[in-house]
């Protein structure tokens, strides 16, 4: 082997190659720490290959040694398999420390009636935090993080006004099966005069300024067969849970953008537009995503944030 060539100026080792008379290349070794780290990754890889599933091998693969995972099947049978993330997840959901703590509370909540959940400090604290998580994931996109909804699109859940009923059973049914809110469009049925009359009547129900003559005409349409509004809203206009029909006398406006603070024309236009165009709203069914206990937690959480009965 040739003697190392040194650069006369710096004394550093060069590769010995010379181009263009005097152009040379230093032969600097890699830093020691870097080289050893590099070799260490080789060792790590070999250890990893032995312990974890790694090398594919004609339709199967090496499954790892001394690294098995136990989990329970849905049927309750205990199984042990080679390390894999799916079994690891099942194991963690079944026996992980957080899952176990939650399971204890979930079992309590599942067994208790709603009154007891709300009264018990422990359970209601659990519902408040666990329910908030579920609500944030599944409900907040439409009903907003505080449950305040989006006017005209998604109902407000904290205004004490319930379209489909406020008992735990009714709320539970709403979540499990979803709801299809529907009011027919009356733009073909009513002429503009009739639309105006009915809108005046509806505004008058909430004590908002309305033309008394028009309102009395509107009442006839509302309670008669021309409009047939009373089928769903009832003759008292107090609404009907089974149809998701709003109570029109409680001064809470669930769809039309009506407020005593804005001008009469604006309010009238808002109500007329709802009557003319009708309502089509859909709430998805959640039974395929949430299990019965999670739905129960959610209902209890809703009772907490909304003050439902």
């Amino acid at each position: 082997m040739a003697k190392p060539v040194k650069d006369p100026l710096t004394g550093a080792e060069t590769t010995g190659h010379v181009w263009d008379d005097d152009l040379q290349e230093f032969n600097n070794p890699l830093p020691r720490w870097w080289l050893w780290t590099f070799y260490a990754t080789f060792v790590f890889a070999f250890v990893y290959w032995v312990i974890y599933p790694s090398w594919p091998f004609f339709g199967t693969y090496t499954k790892g040694i001394g690294n098995s995972i136990s989990y329970k099947t849905d049927a309750g049978e205990e199984k042990t398999t080679h390390w894999n993330t799916r079994a690891l997840l099942a194991n963690e959901l079944q026996t992980g420390s957080t899952a176990m703590r939650q399971k204890e509370y979930l079992a309590k909540v599942a067994a208790a009636p709603y009154e007891q959940i709300v009264e018990n400090t422990d359970m209601s604290a659990f519902v408040r935090s666990y329910g908030k998580g579920i609500f944030g994931d599944y409900c907040a996109a439409c009903h907003q993080s505080g449950g305040q909804g989006v006017p005209g699109l998604f109902p407000n859940l904290v205004d004490d006004d319930w379209l489909w009923g406020n008992s735990p059973e009714q709320i539970e049914y709403t979540i499990v099966n979803g709801r299809h809110g529907f009011m027919p469009a009356f733009r073909e049925t009513f002429n503009d005069q009739q639309l105006d009359d009915v809108a005046n009547y509806v505004l008058g129900l909430s004590g908002l300024a309305a033309d008394p003559v028009k309102a009395s005409q509107g009442e006839l349409i509302f309670k008669g067969e021309t409009g047939g509004c009373y089928y769903c809203h009832t003759k008292d206009a107090t609404g009907m849970y089974s149809q998701g029909a709003a109570n029109l006398t409680d001064k809470i406006w669930t769809v039309a953008n009506v407020s005593p603070r804005q001008s009469e024309e604006k309010n009238l236009a808002a109500v007329k537009s709802v009557i003319a165009n009708g309502i089509q709203r859909q709430m998805p069914a959640w039974s395929s995503r949430l299990n019965p206990t999670e739905i129960k937690v959610l209902v209890a959480y809703l009772k907490q944030i909304s003050g439902a009965d």
Partner: protein
């Protein structure tokens, strides 16, 4: 001792060793492709035996094209990993089978927005329309851009058959001939399993290239995804696509063990 210099100064040795290095890299990338079918779970309905994961319907396919065009994948993944936090937030982890007809797959690599692998059925059509038009109208803290033109642009679908043919060429089982639809035997006597048998009578017609345009219009009309039945817009297609994501496999019909055993 072996010196790198000896490799650099012998061209024969350099060529041989370069070939060895490239072959290892090539084999590691190429060989697994030949065994990829082994890694895809069989997901057949336990009651009917039909395959649960189907190719996209024509309308969903156009929706998927718009998803790609708008670059949704740069911020949204479609891959729920088998971790506890993801299971709790998004639902069951994604199966390999669920993206078997995706070319290219939409797993994504970064979540600026949430994962969309199981967004289907999670929100109503109205929500999707409001959200795509102006995300902050329903999610105040959102940083997603507005996509108002989706509601205005009519959906172009004159080339839907070509799009399906292209996918058929890379292995998506859209049917073109009667044989591919109904099954039977070829003239040479090779048995062919038709879509009717694989996917059932409800799904098979949707995968028929010959009926593509009619199917697309019919689905948009019945679905009324954008809330405006009079116009077939790009919003119809995109919402139809979003509403089916992750809904094909009904996990209630399976013991979790079934999917663990596939690993």
């Amino acid at each position: 001792m072996f010196k790198h210099e000896s490799v650099e100064t012998s061209s024969a040795l350099l060529v041989i060793l370069t070939l060895v290095a490239i072959s290892i890299g090539g084999l590691v990338e190429v060989v697994p492709l030949h065994y990829i079918d082994d890694t895809v779970e069989q997901v057949n309905d336990p009651e009917t035996g039909l395959e649960m994961v189907r190719p996209y319907t024509p309308l969903e396919l156009r929706g998927r094209d718009i998803y790609l065009r708008e670059g949704c994948y740069t911020c949204h993944s479609q891959m729920i990993r088998p971790f506890r936090d993801e299971d709790l937030r998004y639902g069951h982890y994604s199966l390999a089978a669920e993206s078997r007809y995706d070319h290219p797959f939409q797993w994504g690599s970064k979540r600026t927005g949430p994962d969309l692998a199981r967004v289907g059925g999670k929100y109503s059509n109205e929500w999707h329309v409001a959200h795509l038009k102006a995300p902050r109208s329903v999610v105040p803290e959102s940083i997603m851009p507005n996509y108002p033109w989706l509601l205005e642009q009519p959906l172009r679908y004159a080339d839907i058959q070509e799009r399906m043919l292209a996918l058929k060429r890379v292995g998506v089982p859209y049917s073109l001939s009667r044989l591919e639809y109904e099954g039977g035997t070829t003239e040479e006597g090779t048995p062919v399993v038709g879509n009717l048998e694989t996917f059932g009578p409800d799904v098979a017609p949707l995968l028929d290239i010959n009926q593509a345009e009619a199917n697309l219009v019919a689905q948009a009309e019945t679905g009324n995804y954008d809330g405006d039945p009079a116009h077939l817009t790009e919003m119809d297609a995109l919402v139809a696509y979003l509403q089916m994501l992750g809904t094909l496999v009904d996990f209630k019909k399976f013991d979790e063990d079934h999917f663990i055993q596939a690993r």
